[in-house]
Each structure stands twice: as C-alpha cells, then as structure tokens.
C-alpha cells in the first residue's frame, strides 16, 4: 500500500475532522477526535487492509501518520 492511500484510509476512521488535516506529518494523537474509538478503528483498518497486527506500543511510539504507516508496512 502507498502512503497516500494509507492517509486516506486513516482519515476515513474520523467523522468530524476535516480531511485536509490528514497529511503524512499529522501528529494524529494531537487531533481533537483521537480517542479510544478512533484508535481501535485505525488498528482494525490496518488489520483489515494490510493484514498487520499493530500493538499498543506501536501506537504509543508513533507520532505522525507516516510513522504508523512505516510500522504497518514493516
């Protein structure tokens, strides 16, 4: 999967955040809408789309969407 598609899928997990706020450098945990539900939605998306299991530590250790993409792609 390309980074651009990952960002689009990442953004789809959010209902109220403007789509233009999602870029490779977005620090996703600072988004107002980032909470337990969006976190689980992102984990489910990566499991479904990339067949990769993301751990809690992976989320905690990632700052930007690109960081998480790199973990998911590793």
């Amino acid at each position: 999967m390309e980074l651009k598609e990952f960002i689009q899928l990442f953004a789809e997990q959010f209902d109220d955040t403007a789509v233009e706020l999602f870029t490779s450098k977005t620090e996703f945990k600072k988004l107002d809408e980032w909470d337990s539900l969006t976190a689980l939605s992102v984990i489910a998306m990566i499991d479904e789309e990339m067949e990769k299991r993301i751990t809690g530590a992976d989320i905690r250790n990632s700052n930007t969407i690109e960081d998480l993409f790199n973990v998911a792609n590793s």
């Binding site: 909470d35 539900l37 984990i43 489910a44 499991d47 299991r53 751990t55 809690g56």
Partner: protein
C-alpha cells in the same frame, strides 16, 4: 491449536447472579472527564456495571447461582461428580475455593474439585474441562462455577479497567445425554503477550510490599498500584481482531459447519466495538449476536453464562450456538454447542 470433539455431552442448566449495587459509567465524574466517559461508553457499550461490596466474594455470587440452579433442577447435589471453580479472585490463596464450595454446597465428599486461574477465556476452557470430565465413566454431572469480583483489584482511576470490569458469578451444570449430539472446541494459548493484561505484583514473582501498594501515575494519566489490574486495551483489541475470526474459521472447518448454520453467537463481552469488528470479520449475521455488556460491563469469564441468562428470551430450544472468549495471556477459544432442553434461570441479584 487444540481442536476437540465431544459426543453426548451438553449443558443442562445455566444460572447467574450479580451484586445489587449498580455503578453508572456516566456518573463517574469524580475520577474521569465527561469527554472520556462519553467516548468510553460509545466504544465499549458499558453504561453500567454491578460492583460487589467489601464482604462479597466471587464464591458468594457463584454459591447463590448454584443454589438457584439446584432448586430448579432434577439433579440433586449428591449426583454431582465434579466441581470446577474458575476465577482470578478466589477466597484465599490456600485452600482452593472449589474445596470450600464442596462443603458449602453440600456436595458428596467423593466429588472431584479443583480451581482454575483463567481470565476471559475461562468459560470456554471451563466448558472444555467439564465436558472432558463428564465424558468419563463414573462422572455424570459436572458443576462449573465461574465467578469474578475484579472490582476488588481494579483502580477507579484507571481510564480503562476502572470503567470496564464488572462483578458476577455463574453456575453451569454439564451432563451426559445423547440428545446433545456433537460439540466442538478450539483452544489456544500465546503467552508471549502476558504483560498485556496483568496484575504485576502480589503473586510470587513480585511479592506484596509497601512499594507495590503505592499509587503511581502512568504516562497516560492512569493512577493505580501494582497489585491492581492493568490492561493494554489496544493490544487486546489488535490481538483479538487478528486471531479470533481465524480461530472461528478453523473450528467451523473442523466441525464441518458454515457460519450461516448458527442461530446465535455468544461472545465474551469484552468491548462492544471489538465484538462487532470480530463479527464483521467472521462474516456472521450481526443480528444473531447477543449482548449484555451495556448492563454488566466486562465480567471476564462470567460474561458468557451471564449473557445467556440475561438474553434467554432470544434463545430457543435446539439452537446451534457459537461461543468465543479471549483473555489475558493471551488465551482464547471457541465452542460449537447444541442448546438442547437447557434450563436457564433469570439473572439473580444478591
């Protein structure tokens, strides 16, 4: 992975008891922000839970469930050949609570009784053990007690477990009978992630000490001591959505069943969103899933029998059931059972 088949063993009756004391999630503003509580309810589905008072143990809830079960059953206590007590919150470190329960319940002194320490997969493992024992010549009826008072080892200021875990007890009677047909179990273990759900101290690796009882705050703002349960919810979620749909698929293949053959799905009530994601991945009809998490929270191994009791109006004789549970370790399992002539009592309050 253990894949197992039984013939002529089944569940004769199920009963569950919860504490009277209700704690509503939305009212816990002394410990958590309104934003967090709203988000938590939306994600997990937990609107309220039952919490035991200081003097109420898991065994007391199980005792009540068992007495009610025997009062409604044609099986007498002396006909029980084995007793299994599954809990992480037993009465004492020594002796096992099952031993005490033999006497409290006035079971025969020739009863085989033992404790099992398991978490949210406890009911699946308990059924497997009970079916295994009931399969033996000489054991006709097995009493499975699963109870938890996890509130006693949970910090109210933990943003996850402090809002998720509820207390309850259950009793299930497993018996021989050709009418039950074939049952199938899948049982799995991966201990590499044992720290994802753990009470780090108070056991024998890290014994109880002044330090282990001191409150500490972690980087996410949870406040708890090391003798209280901690859970990495994201780890549990990712493991569950990754492993459980595959486990269900393998069990279906082993049993020669299709996901559309089932009448009801009774999953461990871990988190409503998680159950829905698992259901979607397993391609099952979500309208056939039973839920009780809104009323009782996550009661660990109790949640499956508690859901059966709470949702009994949605179960019919001869229903084909798929059960599933996943818990600390990780430990997980699934079961395919025929729900035949099963007496299910209303959930009792103690």
């Amino acid at each position: 992975m253990a894949l197992v088949k039984f013939s002529g063993i089944g569940i004769k009756s199920v009963s569950a008891t919860v504490p009277k004391n209700i704690v509503e999630t939305s009212k816990l503003l002394d410990y958590h922000s309104e934003k967090h509580l709203t988000s938590f309810i939306e994600t997990t589905g937990v609107k309220e839970r039952r919490i035991a008072d200081k003097d109420m143990c898991s065994s007391d809830l199980c005792y009540d469930a068992a007495i009610n079960l025997f009062n409604e059953s044609d099986i007498k206590t002396e006909e029980v050949g084995a007793l299994i007590f599954i809990s992480q919150t037993p009465d004492y470190r020594v002796p096992g609570t099952s031993i005490i329960m033999q006497d409290r319940l006035k079971l025969s002194k020739s009863t085989l009784a033992f404790d099992v320490n398991m978490t949210c997969s406890g009911y699946i493992y308990g059924l497997f053990l009970a079916y295994s024992l009931a399969n033996l010549h000489g054991v006709d009826n097995v009493l499975l007690l699963v109870g938890e008072t996890l509130s006693k080892i949970t910090s109210k200021r933990d943003k996850s477990t402090g809002l998720l875990l509820g207390d309850g007890g259950s009793a299930t009677l497993i018996s021989k009978g050709d009418k039950y047909g074939d049952s199938f179990f899948s049982l799995n273990t991966d201990g590499s992630s044992y720290e994802s759900v753990i009470v780090p101290s108070g056991g024998f690796r890290n014994m109880s000490s002044e330090e282990s009882l001191a409150d500490k705050q972690d980087e996410e703002g949870n406040i708890r001591n090391d003798e209280q349960i901690r859970m990495d919810g994201m780890d549990v979620f990712s493991f569950a959505v990754s492993k459980i749909p595959k486990d269900i698929k393998r069990l279906l293949d082993f049993a020669g069943k299709d996901i559309n053959d089932f009448d009801r799905f009774v999953f461990h009530q871990a988190n409503k969103y998680m159950m829905k994601v698992i259901g979607k991945k397993a391609k099952l009809d979500a309208s056939k899933m039973l839920f009780s998490i809104e009323k009782y929270g996550n009661t660990s191994g109790v949640s499956i029998p508690l859901t059966i009791a709470d949702q009994k109006a949605h179960l019919q004789n001869n229903d084909l059931l798929l059960l599933n549970g996943i818990g600390a370790g990780f430990s997980w399992g699934s079961a395919i059972l025929n729900f035949v002539d099963c007496t299910v009592l209303n959930v009792n309050e103690l």
